[in-house]
């Protein structure tokens, strides 16, 4: 009995060490040796509160630190530098789309849908600087985002189709071994990837892979295909970190109220009767 226990322990240590080695090697590993808690159905248990920790929401490509847009906000509004989350070279915009990106950039102080508290779409919801919660149950997966209380349901049964376009798209999910693969279609063309105007059309097709690589990290990658905007598919990847505070919970950031003055202020009654 004692020998068996030692064997099990040795195996556990070896596996953990192997997992740690794996996760520090290639960020786009599609499978991992990590075996964490499982759901009763035998799948990796991704329940919890997660958050990306990078500057992708500012600019998904590598970028220098830069001044902000509003003088009075000084350093608070300035953009931090980032190494980017896009794999490979610059985003492969088609020529007309590149011109549109430049136009978006010029107009970002008014045109970024995030300013108005519009739901961010996928993948931007995954790396905004707010936590999100994965609720994974026998009935499917729900992803709730603190920003604007955006939400999407992941259908884990037979794939289905959306009757119309939405802000958070239509997600069909399945397991590929221990990797959660989500296929996102039917997003409208109104969301951006970041604050510098990277955008897409309504032909956007996102395929995500969630690979748990340790108890506290999911390695996330998203492949973007949009033939109306980009000349070829491209991929972004980043770790998602678990919130481990004992009292961790999603709070409300119902920012519609905070964007009202911006959206409707010019229509306000000017003087009291």
């Amino acid at each position: 009995m004692g020998m068996n226990r030692l064997l099990v322990l040795a195996l556990a240590v070896a596996l953990t060490a192997s997992a740690q080695t794996q996760s520090s090697q290639s960020p786009s590993q599609s499978q991992s040796a990590y075996r964490g808690p499982r759901t009763p159905g035998g799948k990796p248990d991704l329940n919890g509160i997660w958050q990306a920790m990078n500057t992708a929401n500012w600019d998904i490509q590598a970028h220098s630190a830069a001044p902000g847009r509003i003088v009075a906000l000084g350093a608070q509004d300035a953009m931090p530098a980032g190494l980017g989350v896009v794999e490979g070279g610059p985003l492969p915009y088609l020529p007309e789309a590149l011109a549109k990106k430049k136009e978006n950039f010029e107009n970002r102080l008014t045109a970024d849908p995030e300013l108005k508290c519009f739901m961010p779409g996928v993948p931007r919801a995954m790396y905004q600087p707010f936590p999100f919660q994965i609720v994974q149950s026998t009935t499917g997966i729900l992803m709730v985002y603190e920003f604007a209380e955006a939400v999407r349901t992941i259908n884990m049964g037979k794939p289905t189709q959306s009757p119309g376009d939405t802000w958070m798209g239509w997600s069909n999910g399945r397991w590929d071994g221990d990797t959660l693969v989500i296929d996102v279609t039917s997003q409208n063309d109104q969301t951006w990837f970041d604050r510098v105007g990277d955008f897409h059309s309504d032909a956007l097709h996102v395929v995500e892979r969630f690979v748990p690589v340790s108890s506290g990290i999911i390695q996330y990658e998203a492949t973007i295909t949009d033939p109306k905007t980009f000349s070829r598919p491209w991929k972004m990847s980043m770790p998602l970190y678990r919130h481990v505070e004992k009292n961790a919970q999603l709070l409300e950031f119902k920012c519609v109220e905070f964007a009202e003055e911006l959206v409707y202020g010019s229509l306000r009654r000017k003087s009291e009767q």
Partner: protein, 142 residues
């Protein structure tokens, strides 16, 4: 069976009380009772959005001029559950709208009664809109 107006009022009283007094989307605040409109126009597109879907039409005036209008409708979610999709109202379909124009003077009107030229209510019934390329009612997955 013809409903008397009193019965309808009583019915809606009960229904309204089921929804605590909310100034739900006060159409009175948006549209002008003194500006009724009857529009016959060709659909150019439909925005299947919330809180209201909007049907874009082009109305040909007697002098031949084309005037664009936007017609406010309800939540598309109820239509989706009845089997319609964003393909259900194709550009080119002619509709007739009885409604009221927006107070702000724009070419917005509420689509209180929207029919096809033969009088059938748009989206009512199980046989779709009857428009070219219309699909029979089926439930999209969810």
């Amino acid at each position: 069976m013809k409903h008397t107006r009193a019965a309808i009022v009583a019915g809606t009283c009960l229904m309204l009380a089921g929804v605590p007094v909310l100034a739900h989307h006060a159409f009175q605040a948006e549209f002008d009772a003194n500006r009724p409109v009857t529009l016959r126009g060709t659909v150019t597109k439909m925005e299947w959005i919330n809180p209201h879907a909007w049907i874009h039409i082009e109305v040909k005036e007697p002098d031949g001029k084309i005037t664009p209008w936007m017609i406010e409708a309800g939540t598309p979610n109820t239509l989706y559950r009845r089997g319609f999709t964003k393909e259900s109202l194709a550009p080119g379909v002619v509709i007739v709208v009885q409604g009221y124009q927006a107070k702000n003077g724009s070419n917005h009107a509420n689509g209180r009664d929207v029919t096809l030229p033969d009088g059938r209510t748009l989206f009512m019934g199980s046989s779709g809109t009857g428009a070219p390329g219309d699909k029979p009612e089926k439930k999209p997955g969810g």
